[in-house]
């Protein structure tokens, strides 16, 4: 029962996939790029799926499986992520990023932090930082750029609200933010989206924050168009 799946078909882990334009393996000019959820076996020259979802081909020779992903398979270095501090140690913090293990964040990796003036961070604070992960060592987070500037990273204000959405939706929102801009035309707000599926929002009133959260969760559940989301937002503000 091993039917080969085509592009835009639904696959389960283990399904073999027939990719449309397959250059011969020895062709040095072309290379296929396999995104998350796909695996190539050299011996049998076969592509199998490692995830659940639809097989997508966003541009020629680039393929991936589009579906809900866990943090363990989709986080990579240089991703901006949101974490919660679990423990403060002498020179570093242990941060929960929704991965198998806690990430480590050195207390010197904040803007303007020295041996004498370490930042005032403790258990429960929300961190926005850049991830360095390689699957073997403990993941590490840093809250400064190469030139020592924070650039928006660091400890986020405690008057915000943090909640989770599926990782693929978070990545979508990071790269195509029409919805977020439209919402920004309605009310002023701050938002930080982590590639590990966490969203932090802050607005002036709790009512606005609840409405924002509702709209983002609705967007996460099903991809309805922007105007419907805007009306939902207006209704939530009023009710």
């Amino acid at each position: 029962m091993d039917i080969e799946r085509q592009i835009d078909e639904f696959v389960l882990p283990g399904d073999p996939i027939a990719l449309s334009t397959l250059p011969s393996p020895l062709d040095a000019c072309h290379s296929i790029v396999l995104g998350p959820g796909l695996h190539y076996d050299k011996d049998t020259n076969a592509f199998t799926s490692h995830g659940c979802g639809l097989v997508r081909e966003p541009s020629s020779l680039i393929y991936y499986v589009d579906g809900h992903r866990s943090a363990a398979s989709s986080l990579s270095t240089d991703d901006l992520i949101l974490g919660i501090v679990v423990r403060r140690q002498l020179e570093s913090l242990l941060v929960d990023i929704g991965y198998n293990e806690l990430a480590s964040l050195s207390l010197y990796d904040f803007e303007g932090s020295t041996k004498r003036t370490k930042p005032n961070v403790d258990r429960g604070d929300v961190i926005y930082g850049r991830l360095k992960i390689d699957g073997e060592c403990q993941p590490q987070i840093t809250c400064v750029n190469e030139d020592g500037k924070a650039d928006g990273m660091g400890v986020l204000h405690e008057n915000g609200y943090l909640f989770s959405i599926p990782i693929d939706v978070a990545n979508d929102l990071i790269h195509h933010d029409n919805l977020l801009q439209e919402l920004g035309n309605e009310i002023p707000y701050e938002i930080a989206i982590g590639a590990n599926g966490r969203v932090w929002i802050k607005a002036t009133t709790t009512r606005t924050m609840i409405a924002l959260r509702k709209v983002i969760l609705e967007r996460a559940k099903n991809k309805i168009d922007i105007n419907q989301l805007k009306t939902l937002f207006q209704q939530s503000l009023v009710s």
Binding site: I84, R123, H157, N159, W200, T206, I210
Partner: protein
């Protein structure tokens, strides 16, 4: 509560919302989410949704020897199994503790409140009684398992039918489903649980906390009662002070007829007597509505009639098929 690290901003936000009298899904503080009860094909199988929290209940029965202390009463078993969604909210090891605690309170609420007529489950005293087992599975977790599981267990018990039995002397003959109609369990009343999530040392209370609110709550106060305002359970989790609660108990003891079957306490949140009385009257209104809904919701449907008619339909179809084959 017994959970992994929660962001400070999450706690602060929920408390700010409470102060502004708002909830994350625009509910009023003392309103439950939508309840959906779905009865499935097999007897005793029900799925109850409380908003997004879903619990599946399945019932089965078997004949066993009764307990020696109660030789003419049937037995009731209840088991609650978790979903993996909850794993993310709890530290390792605490999830099973939480589940066993809730299992215990569910069992006490349903068995010790006397809602199921145990004596009617007796077949032959000292020898054979029916043992009804209810298995509860949490299919989807969005806060407030206790209420949802309790309702699922009650619906499943109300829906369940056990085979008819004839006893001649010491011979017990169990009739199959086609020989005689199976019998429903005699349920005397429906003890429904309403949970109150407590915040800020008892100052704020919410009925039916969703997952985000449950992560942040300091204590849980659950009341089990039926529509006649008779209490079947008072359970408190988290930190509630003994003295204040004893005062509250005293007032309750005066205005109801049945004895309390459960009181469980841990730690110290103060709940004054007035607060407890308030909770009870709020819960009572909700319980009346929920019981009405349960009653009208498919329970009256005569399921055996349906089963009979499907059996007959099958027989007719088979006869037609045989005739068709013969004609060829």
């Amino acid at each position: 509560m017994a959970s992994k690290v929660i962001g400070k901003c999450e706690e602060k936000f929920i408390i700010r919302c409470l102060r502004d009298r708002q909830r994350l899904d625009h509910r009023l503080p003392f309103v439950t989410r939508d309840i959906k009860i779905e009865f499935r094909e097999e007897y005793g199988s029900a799925v109850v949704s409380l908003g997004l929290t879903k619990v599946l209940a399945q019932t089965c029965c078997k004949i066993v020897k009764p307990k020696e202390t109660r030789p003419n009463e049937g037995r009731l078993r209840l088991q609650l199994k978790n979903s993996h969604n909850m794993v993310f909210n709890f530290e390792t090891g605490r999830q099973t503790q939480w589940t066993t605690l809730m299992s215990r309170h569910l069992l006490q609420n349903i068995r010790d409140s006397g809602c199921v007529d145990m004596e009617s489950l007796c077949i032959l005293a000292y020898e054979h009684v029916w043992e009804i087992s209810v298995n509860l599975h949490v299919v989807d977790y969005d806060g407030n398992i206790l209420d949802c599981a309790n309702l699922a267990a009650l619906c499943a018990l109300a829906h369940f039918r056990y085979p008819a039995v004839t006893v001649t002397g010491t011979d017990v003959h169990v009739h199959s489903l086609t020989e005689r109609n199976p019998q429903p369990i005699r349920i005397l009343h429906y003890p429904i649980m309403i949970s109150f999530a407590l915040f800020e040392n008892g100052e704020y209370m919410l009925i039916d906390a969703c997952e985000a609110e449950e992560k942040v709550m300091e204590g849980l106060f659950a009341i089990g009662m039926n529509q006649h305002k008779e209490l079947s359970t008072l359970a408190m989790f988290g930190e509630i002070s003994e003295e204040k609660v004893m005062e509250g108990l005293f007032a309750i003891g005066m205005n109801q007829h049945k004895e309390l079957s459960t009181l469980a306490m841990f730690g110290e949140i103060c709940l004054t007597r007035d607060q407890i009385e308030n909770c009870i009257s709020l819960a009572h209104n909700l319980v009346r509505d929920i019981t009405k809904e349960m009653r009208t919701h498919n329970l009256v449907r005569d399921i055996t009639k349906e089963m009979r008619s499907t059996l007959e339909k099958n027989r007719e179809e088979q006869l037609q098929m045989i005739q068709a084959i013969n004609h060829r």
